[in-house]
Symmetry: D2
Subunit: 341 residues, 4 copies
C-alpha cells in the first residue's frame, strides 16, 4: 500500500460492487480497499477471499466506523442508498454511490442535505460519462467541433431483459434503464432538459407488462438551449448490447458507434460478416467503471469536486418521473412539474 493511499470501504458486494472492489484493490494504486460489507454472507466471503480485505463484515455500520476508511463506495440495493448516504455523511466519509440515489425525491433531498451539511464529497455512479468513446463525444462538443448542438440521439438497448422479479422492484424502465441516458443527454449537450415526451409499449415480453412495466420506449427531450434529443430503449436487442450516441450541430456531427470484442470479419458468398457489439455492460463499460472510481479517488485525495455529483443524480431521477408521467398521460411533461423540492 502506497503511502497516503485513500482507505476505502465498500458496501454491497454484488456484481457491480465486486467490480468496484477489484478496481480499488488492484487497479487504482492511490486507493486501498480496507473494508467490505454485504448482508449476503456468501457474496461477501467470495469477494473477500479474492481480495485480501482487512475488515469483512455483514454490517455496513462497521465499515462506517472503521478509522482507516476515509471514503465509502455504496453498491448495495437502491432502497438502502439514501439511508447509508446520510449515515456515511454523518460519519464524515466521502461517498461514491451507485445510481439511482433513490426512487423517492424527498429522500434524495434529505440525503443531499446531509452531504452538504457534513461537507463531504458525493459522486454518483454515472459511469457512462467515463466511457472513452462517449467521453470523446463530449470533448468534441465542448471543443466546439460540431458548433452549436441541435440534435442528440441516444440508442440504449439491453441484450436481454432482467428477471421479472427484478423488473417488479426496478422502479420502471425510465428510472432503471433510461436514467443513464437522461444523464448522458445533459452531459453531452451541456444544457438542462425542460420537457420530455415518452412513448412506449410492451413488445418484448408480455410478462414485463404484467409486472406493470414496459420494455420498449422512445423519449423526446426538449433542451433549454433549443436542442432536441431522442432516446430509444429496448430491453432486448437480439444482436447484443446496443449503446450508441450521436450529437449533431451547426458545424458537424460526432458519433460513437458500438464497439465489438474483436475486429475480425468474414467475407463469404453471402455477406461480409462482422462482429457483434461487446456483450453487456460489464464488458462494454469496463474502462468506464475503472475511470470513474479513479476520478473519485483522485477527487477525494485532492479535495476537488467530482464531475458528477448529487444534483446530477437528482435531476436524472426527476427526468425519469417526468417520462413516466408523460408515458401514462400521453403528453409532453415539463420537468418543472415534478422537480420541486
Amino acid at each position: 500500500m502506497e503511502k497516503d493511499c485513500l482507505g476505502v470501504g465498500l458496501i454491497g458486494a454484488g456484481r457491480i460492487g465486486r467490480l468496484h472492489a477489484q478496481n480499488l484493490a488492484h487497479r487504482i494504486p492511490q486507493a486501498s480497499l480496507r473494508a467490505l460489507s454485504d448482508v449476503n454472507r456468501k457474496a461477501l466471503e467470495s469477494c473477500a477471499a479474492e481480495l485480501a480485505v482487512p475488515l469483512v463484515t455483514d454490517d455496513y455500520r462497521a465499515v462506517l466506523d472503521a478509522p482507516d476508511v476515509r471514503a465509502v463506495a455504496i453498491c448495495s440495493s437502491t432502497d438502502t442508498h439514501s439511508q447509508i448516504i446520510e449515515e456515511a455523511a454523518a460519519a464524515g466519509k466521502h461517498i461514491f454511490c451507485e445510481k439511482p440515489i433513490d426512487y423517492d425525491l424527498a429522500r434524495i433531498d434529505r440525503a443531499l442535505e446531509a452531504v452538504r451539511e457534513a461537507g463531504v464529497m458525493l459522486q454518483i455512479g454515472f459511469n457512462r460519462r467515463f466511457d472513452p468513446s462517449f467521453r470523446r463525444v463530449r470533448e468534441v462538443v465542448a471543443e466546439g467541433g460540431i458548433g452549436q448542438p441541435h440534435l442528440l440521439r441516444i440508442t440504449s438497448r439491453d441484450p436481454q431483459p432482467p428477471p421479472i422479479e427484478y423488473v417488479k422492484v426496478s422502479g420502471g424502465i425510465f428510472l432503471d434503464m433510461t436514467i443513464h441516458d437522461f444523464d448522458m443527454a445533459r452531459y453531452l449537450v451541456d444544457s438542462e432538459v425542460d420537457e420530455v415526451y415518452a412513448l412506449g409499449g410492451v413488445l418484448v415480453d408480455p410478462a414485463i407488462g404484467e409486472a406493470g412495466d414496459i420494455d420498449t420506449a422512445v423519449i423526446t427531450l426538449r433542451f433549454a438551449n433549443g436542442a432536441i434529443g431522442t432516446i430509444d430503449n429496448s430491453r432486448k436487442a437480439s444482436y447484443g448490447y446496443d449503446q450508441r450516441i450521436e450529437v449533431f450541430g451547426s458545424g458537424g456531427m460526432v458519433a460513437a458507434p458500438n464497439i465489438p470484442p474483436y475486429s475480425t470479419t468474414l467475407s463469404d458468398g453471402s455477406a461480409v460478416h462482422g462482429p457483434l457489439p461487446l456483450f453487456f455492460f460489464l464488458e462494454r463499460y469496463a474502462h468506464s467503471y475503472l475511470a470513474e472510481m479513479q476520478e473519485f479517488v483522485d477527487s477525494v485525495r485532492q479535495g476537488k469536486a467530482p464531475s458528477v455529483g448529487g444534483e446530477d443524480g437528482r435531476i436524472a431521477v426527476v427526468m425519469g418521473y417526468a417520462a413516466r408521467t408523460s408515458y401514462r398521460e400521453n403528453r409532453p411533461v415539463r420537468l418543472a412539474e415534478v422537480a420541486q423540492r
Copy 2:
C-alpha cells in the same frame, strides 16, 4: 425506338423534370419521350435540344392531346399538380406525378377521384422507396429478417437550406421535406401511423423563422402495429446530405448508413479521414429516380398497379398536416383528426 415502346410526355422541365426526361430518353428502352412542355421557354429549349423530343411546347395541354403520348410525367410546380392530374386523367393518360400531390386535401381528393373514374394509373414520385439501400431494408423487414419491427429511425438532413423564396411557398418543412420520410416510415414498417408528435425549432437560419417555417424537427410516430418511429430533420448538415434509416425488431436490426462517392480514406497523424456522403439528392438518389420511372413504364405497359399510388401520396400529406398541428399545439395528434375526407 423499340416497337411498342411507351410514349411518354413530360410536363415541367426543371431540375427534377430534366432528370426524368434523360432517363426516359436514354435509360429506359421500353419508353420513348415523345413530348415535353414547360412554361419556362428557356428551360424547355435547353432540355429539348439535348434529347431530340418530337413535340416541344409551352402548353401542357398540347402534351395531353398528343396521340402518341400514352402516359405523362408531371414535374411542374406543386400548385399545378392536381389540376394537371385531373386533365390528364380525363384525357385517358396514365400519370406519374412528383410529390406532393397538392397541399390541399380536398384538391387531392378530387384529383384521386378523377383518376379512379378515368381508370388510369397514378404513381407518386416517392423515389426513396427505390433507393437500393432502402429497398434492401424493406426486403429484409418483409422477409422477417428482423422479426417484428419495434423501432424505426430515419435521419434526413439536407446539406443546405433552399432559397428563402422557396421556403415561403414550400408548405413548410413537414410537407416539403419530412413528407419523404413519412412515406418511408409507412413503407418500411408496413403499418399505418396512428399518431404523431412533432418538436422543432429555428436553429439553422433566423430567416427561415421569419418566413414562417422551422428548420430543425424531430417527429415521433406511433404505428398501428405498436412500433414507434422517430424522424429527425435539419435543413443544414455541414457534412452533406445525411440520409440514414434503421429498423429494429424482435430478431435484429437492419440499417442503411450513408453512401459516399468513393471509398478512399486517408490515415495520417491526426485521424483516419473518410469521404463525406454523396452531396445531395441528384447524386444520392440517381438510381432511385431511374428505378421508379422504370417501374412506372413497366406497370403501364403490363397493366399492373404501381407500388406507390395516389393513396400513398395522400397519406403522406395527412401526416404532414398532423405534424404541423402537433408542432403548433405541442401535443400528440392523431391522424384521424386531420384525415377525414
Copy 3:
C-alpha cells in the same frame, strides 16, 4: 448532335465495346457515335438497333474511311489491335484502344511508331485510373498527403475465372489480369518499376493449369524511387470482385476499400452482415469507363495529350513479360531484361 461534336467510330461491339458505344451515344454530349463495326453480325445489329448509328458495317475499314469519323475506339479482340492502330493512324484518326495493345512487343513498337508518324493521339483503355476511389488515391499521393510513398498494395481478384477457351488465348494471367494492376502501380506511386518477382500457382481450378496458365499470383515490385509494391491476384474470390488499393508513405496511408452496391447491414444474433462488393468490372468500373472516354473526347477536341498513352500501354506489357519470366525461373527479373526495343 451538338455543333462541332466529335464524330467517333467504334470497332468491336462485344461486351466492352457496347458499353463504350452507349457512353458515346448517350452520356458524352461532346461526342457523336457515327459508325460501328463488328465481324460478328449479330452483336453488331443488336448494338446498332439500340443506338441509332448512321454507319453500321462488318468491315472496320469502312469505319476508318468514314469522313465524319475523326476518332476511333478499338474494342475488337487483342490480336487485331496493333493492325487496326496502324491503319487508323494512317487514316489520320485519333485512337482509343482497349488494353493490351498487343501481346508482341515488336508489333506494339510498330503500332506506336505509326501513331507517332501520323501525329494522331492514342489513349489506352486503362480505365481503372479513372475510378473515383483510385483517382482519389492518386490525388492524395500527388498532393503529398502521405509524404514519400514507401509501400503499395494492390488486391485484384475476380469473382470467377473466365471460360477455359478464353484462358488459352488470354496471354496468361500476368498479361490478361495483372496488366491492369501493373499500370495502377506505376500510376499511383508515380515511379517506374525496375524489377519484379512473381510467385504463383494453380489453386482455383486444375483446368487452368492444364491450359498452361496459373490462377493465383503474388507479384512484388521494386520501384526506381525505392518504394516496394505487392500485387495479389486470384481468378476466383467467392465473395465477389475484390479491388482494393493502399499506398503507405512517410506521412500516412491512403486506402481504397471495396465498394458495395448498397449500404444496408443486418445485425442479428449471429453477426453484423454487410453487403458484398459490386459484382464485377461492368458494375464496379462503370464510372471509370465513362470518365476515360470523356477524357479521350475532351483531349481530341482540345488537342491535348491523353493522360494514359501508348508508352503506358507498352510498359504494362513489359511488366507482364518480366513477371512471367520471374514466375517461370523463380527469380527476380529486371524490366531492362525484357524491355529493349
Copy 4:
C-alpha cells in the same frame, strides 16, 4: 492466494516483464508471483513495491532456487534467454520465455535440448496468437470458414522506430520485428513455409541504415501447402501501430483490421474523421499478454503442452535468417538452406 496456486518467478522487470508481473499478481487467480529479479536495481524495486512480491533479488539464480517457484517467466534481454532456459530446466522449473529464444541457432538447439531432457514445459511469448481478433482469424480458418487458404497478408508497422542503440543489438528487422509475423504466418495458414523472398530498404531514417539495418521490408512466403503469403513491415507508420491480417481462401476471406481506442467519429465539412489505431503493443496487445500467461499457468497446472512451444520459437528464427539471406542476395531462399541442426 488460492490453494494450489502456481508459484511463479519472474526474471527481468523491464517494460514487458512488469506487464507480465502485474498480470501474474492480479489478473490470474491461479498464479502467485513469488519471486522477482532484475540486474537493474531501480526497475526491480519499482516493480516490487507495487506488487508485494515475497522474494526480490538482483540474482536470477535465487529465483531458480526458490522452492515455492514452480515456473519462471524469462523477460530479460535476449542474449540471456538461452542460458537461463538451460539453468531453469536443470532446476526443474517450467518456463515461459519471451521471443526470440536467441539469435544463435546452435544456442537455441542447446536450450531446447535442455528443456527436453528436463521434461519441463516451455512456452514462447508469441503473444499475438492470443490477440482476440487474430485468434478469431485462426478459428475461422481452422473451422473451414474460408475453405483452403490461398493468400495471406500481414501488415505490421510500428508507430516509431526504436532507439538507434537498440537497433544495433536487435538482430535486424527480420529477427526483431518480422519474427512475430513469421510466427503468425505459420499459425494462421497452418502450414510450414518452404521459401521466402525479402525486399527492403532504408526509407524511414538513414541512421538505421548506418546502424546496419533496414527499416522497410516486404517478405513473400511460399507455404508447403501451396498458399502464398506477404508480410510488409515499416518501422514508422505516422498514423500509429498498424497491425492487420487477412487470409483469403477458396471459400472466402477473413480479415482483422486495426482496433482503435474508441469508436467516436467526427463528420464535418471536410471529412468523416475516425480514430487512429491503438497506439502501440502495450495497448493493442494487452489482452493477448494476459491470455498467453493465463494459458501458460493453466498448461503447467494441468500438465498440458502449451500451444506455442520451443520448436515454434526456433522456426521463426530460421525464417528470420532465411529472410536476411534473401534480402542480402536478392533471391528466394529455402528454409532448408538455413534450418539444419
